[in-house]
Amino acid sequence: MPRAEVVILRRAVTLAISYVIIVIVVSAIIEGSGYSMRIYEAMVREAVNAELMALRRGGNVSEAFIEQYKQNLTRYYMYIYGLTDEQGNIIPPYVRMWNLVWRALRFDFGKTGSYSVANLVPTVPPVDILYVIATILPRTIAVVTVGEIIAALIAVKLGPRIAYKHGSLSDKFVVAYAAAMNAVPLWWLAMIFIYIFCYQLRIFPRSMRGVAPAFLYFWKDPLGNFISILYHITLPLVVFLIYIIGPWLYGFRAMLLRIIREDFVIAAKARGLPEEIITKKYILRPSIAPVLTSIILALAGSLGGFIITESIFDWPGMGTLYYSAILDGDAVTIMALFVVYVLVYLIARFILEVLYIIVDPRVRVR
């Protein structure tokens, strides 16, 4: 029977290996497949054509000169966009892929040249990728992470009671509500709320893109910016809460239902203890491990944002960043996002593994 340290170490090694494999798989998809290369090639073509058109409009130049100019220009832009090395040799996809892997493992992401990515900050390229992520992360935290925390708190508060009154009307309502929210896509709910509150009632703005400066220059005018953030954030946050509260309550209820049938709960009931004590001490406490798991994993997962829903609200968060980077074929930014997200998630999982071993003696012996 291995000791606790050995178990933890083994888990750490496994998670580290899966991290490396994930980095390789993602690199293969972005670069190995030639996806980002194709987008860059299109960008080079566009840039060259734009300059050539300007040249042609300028006056009569010979076709031979234009051809020569075009070649030079293409070579130049290929180098600028990182498609060729200094000698002008084309860097093949597999080399680019391993370069990306190597950079990701060293956390060396450098700067992005993508306009739509820099636009989200808002600034102009080149801009440090980690700075972009650090700037945009609070916007997603403000909606998604805050939403998850509020939902988790409500679930911790109400979950045990609902589980305790298992079979009652409120319990049935929670199950039905969770089923309904499971069926409705969050982004469609967002559309409906925009229809009602932004177009019919005209309470909130139709695009939330304008919230960016309030986050960026928050300390210049804390009160005004706070109000601006509140004005933009209310609708996304409310929609998000309405959506996730169902699954949270349902999940908690399912976890707690297993405990409720345990003998010690029945014994506590038989002793005539008040409902509050039973739910708090006899139901919630023994199920702390799964409850903690779901909360920590949800918080870790929240950093990725919601790509589709954010794009419906035009909320300049992590999801929108992901999407802009993908559309621009900005391989390094995509990779940086994946790395940040996966790393946080894996670290969260590792912390949980350690917590289990500390909290639960049964796991320790496994």
Binding site: A179, I307, I326, L337
Partner: protein, 650 residues
């Protein structure tokens, strides 16, 4: 019945019966509780929609459903017609194709025959429809001349509209010509009426006659020429309104509700000219020139001055005739001055001043006779409610016409509502897309879920049953897959797929690729649970007994383990069906399109046009997606309850 039971024990037929009985039991189990009932009802509804759609769908629709020409005859972004029952008021949409003439008039003396196709339209709201046009495919008729030659006759298309106010207007008459060869009786290419061929002048004349739109004599005065100017200006005013606000063709559905003509009583320009005349007069008086000319010039200018003064003082009583007469007088006098100035050899700067005065007056006269500045008609139109009769006549010049002909006459009136669910951009019929989206959504969902769960179940059984290296490998793979953020990967591959595939099957390949990725990422969760189940089943004594009896691994897996996890697998499978549907819709909404008419595509269009304000566009597709998901969530809950009776609460 004993005999029945006996037969069910052997034979291939009995197996089917056994299976069916099993299904029946399961269904009645599911039916027992409310969620199961709801789920089954919804499922039957969805499947019947899908069957209806799948049996009527055409490849042409799949390819062309987003092209504007496919929906040419539909109004664009209008609500469904049942909103009229809720108190909204929208005009009706008519899309009628007539093949048999309603009546035929033959005048064999003149050799003229007229086949008329009629349609009645009722306008019962205060706004005219959005568009009207007529599409005609007329046949070529043949006639044998006395000398044995065959001449081919093409018709004149005359469209006349009988309006509720008794007016009969003929906005279009289009001669059709035969280009190239055509057989007798063959239909000519489609002729469509447009606003360019619309005879607006005729309609305006009809309005003016019918509604007695004459300009009062107090305004115009009595000069016939000037009255005709005023009339022309009025016609222009009507034309501008009808062309702008009513897109020319909608003139058919309106009448002049209000008509008045006023004369501009503002004297600023007149005073301006007068002061210019006065200045000129003073300048010339101060000059040292021959008195003869000076006197003549001063007289003329004084005359002009007095004329203008008279008009300015009496402007409130003046008529258009007075106005123009004065201006012409002034013009004449000043021209006279110009001649005199030339003869008197006045300095150039003064002569150019006179020239500028003349051109100013001339311009002002032009303004007064051609624009609405001085004579100012106000016309406002209003939708004319009531019954319209639209007659499309094909007029042939033929001595021996056939009794009847077969043609194709389409009368298209785009109203303010359409169909069961309204229309989206380009006139896309939302109901049609919703209907045909059903089989696509269901098959995407089913195929993906079945494949993913199938792979997951077998990976799980193999992993749990064999253990060792295989187990470790499968578990680590699941681990890696589970930690990769799914949606970004899906978006990357989706964007790649749009450039990767070409040709008519592109949409199918893209959707198949989506499904493949969903399967790759989807089997892991099932595998973990099934592995855990297998681990505990493996230790049961009957497995050991089977092994002792010499059963092969394969037999044990298929005969003893698989049936145990089947019910769980079914529940998971049912829960998984919406995943693929939601993912496809989500990607479409993001703008990563595949090109097929799915529910997600409709929402994607709404997003691309940012028309979140159109409820009939964003609600139905989302409701269908949610309803489908709900069906499977409820079905899953019901099945789960059978598997795990502890969960029975709802």
């Amino acid at each position: 019945m004993p005999s029945n039971r006996k037969s069910s024990r052997r034979g291939p037929e009995s197996r089917i019966i056994k299976f069916l009985r099993g299904v029946k039991t399961a269904l009645s189990e599911i039916w027992r509780e409310t969620p199961g009932k709801v789920a089954l009802v919804l499922l039957v509804f969805l499947i019947s929609l899908a069957v209806i759609a799948a049996s009527t769908i055409t490849p042409e629709f799949l390819i062309n459903w987003e092209s504007a020409t496919y929906w040419e005859d539909n109004p664009v972004v209008v609500p469904p017609c049942w909103v009229n029952k809720l108190g909204f008021r929208t005009s009706q949409t008519a899309q009628v194709y007539i093949q048999e003439p309603t009546y035929v008039e033959i005048d064999s003396d003149k050799g003229v025959v007229k086949y008329t196709f009629s349609y009645n339209y009722t306008l019962d709201v205060d706004t005219p429809p959005k568009d009207i046009y007529i599409k005609v495919n007329a046949p070529v008729l043949c006639e044998t001349t006395p000398d044995g030659n065959i001449t081919k006759k093409t018709p004149l298309v005359v469209i006349s509209i009988e309006r509720p106010d008794g007016l009969v207007i003929t906005p279009w008459s289009l001669p059709l010509v035969l280009l190239g060869e055509a057989e007798c009786g063959a239909l000519l290419p489609t002729t469509k009426t447009t606003k360019e061929t619309f005879n607006l002048a005729h309609v305006i004349t009809s309005f003016m006659a019918k509604y007695n739109m004459t300009i009062p004599i107090e305004i115009t005065g009595e000069n016939e020429t000037y009255i005709s100017y005023a009339k022309a200006i009025t016609r222009t005013a009507m034309r501008v309104t009808l062309e702008g606000k009513y897109m020319t063709v909608l003139s058919v559905f309106v009448y002049p509700e209000y008509f008045s003509v006023t004369l501009n009583r503002d004297t600023r320009i007149l005073e301006d000219i007068r002061s210019q005349v006065k200045n000129l007069n003073e300048t010339i008086s101060a000059l040292n020139i021959i008195t003869y000319y000076k006197n003549k010039i001063t007289t003329s200018l004084n005359l002009a001055y007095n004329n203008l003064s008279w008009l300015i003082e009496n402007i409130n009583l003046a008529t258009y005739t007075d106005y123009l007469d004065t201006l012409y007088n002034v013009s004449r006098e000043v021209s006279n001055v110009k001649d005199l100035a030339l003869r008197a050899r006045l300095p150039t700067d003064i002569r150019s001043e006179i020239d500028s005065l003349i051109s100013r007056i001339t311009r002002f006269i032009e303004t007064a006779t051609q624009t609405m500045e001085i004579i100012n008609p106000t016309v406002s139109f209003r939708a004319l409610q009531g019954d319209y009769r639209i007659n499309v006549s094909l007029v042939y010049l033929i001595k021996t016409p056939p009794e009847s002909i077969r043609a194709k006459v389409g009368i298209i009136i785009k109203g303010g509502c359409y169909g069961l669910l309204g229309t989206a951009n380009k006139g896309i019929d939302i109901f049609t897309v919703i209907l045909y989206g059903t089989p696509i959504a269901l098959s995407i969902g089913f195929v993906t879920a079945v494949t993913a769960v199938f792979i997951g179940v077998f990976a799980g059984i193999v992993s749990g049953y064999y253990g060792g290296f295989i187990d470790e490998f499968i578990q680590r793979t699941v681990d890696v897959l589970g930690n990769i953020p799914f949606l970004p990967i899906m978006i990357i591959i989706g964007s790649m797929a749009q450039a990767m595939f070409t040709g008519p099957m592109k949409s199918l390949y893209i959707i198949l690729l989506y499904m493949a990725i969903l399967i790759v990422f989807g089997w892991g969760g099932v595998a973990i649970t099934v592995r855990a189940m297998t681990l505990s089943i493996k230790e049961e004594p009957y497995i050991e007994a089977a092994r002792a009896l010499g059963a092969s691994n394969r037999r044990i897996i298929f005969k003893h383990i698989f049936p145990q996890v089947l019910m769980y697998a079914t529940a998971v499978l049912v829960f998984r069906v919406p995943d693929a549907i939601l993912t496809e819709a989500g990607l479409s909404v993001l703008g990563i399109r595949h090109g097929w008419p799915t529910w997600g595509s409709l929402l994607a269009n709404a997003r691309a046009e940012s028309r979140y304000d159109v409820w009939w566009w964003i609600f139905p597709p989302g409701i269908m997606i949610s309803l489908t998901s709900l069906t499977f969530v409820l079905l899953g809950l019901a099945i789960e309850r059978i598997v795990e009776p502890r969960l029975r609460t709802l």
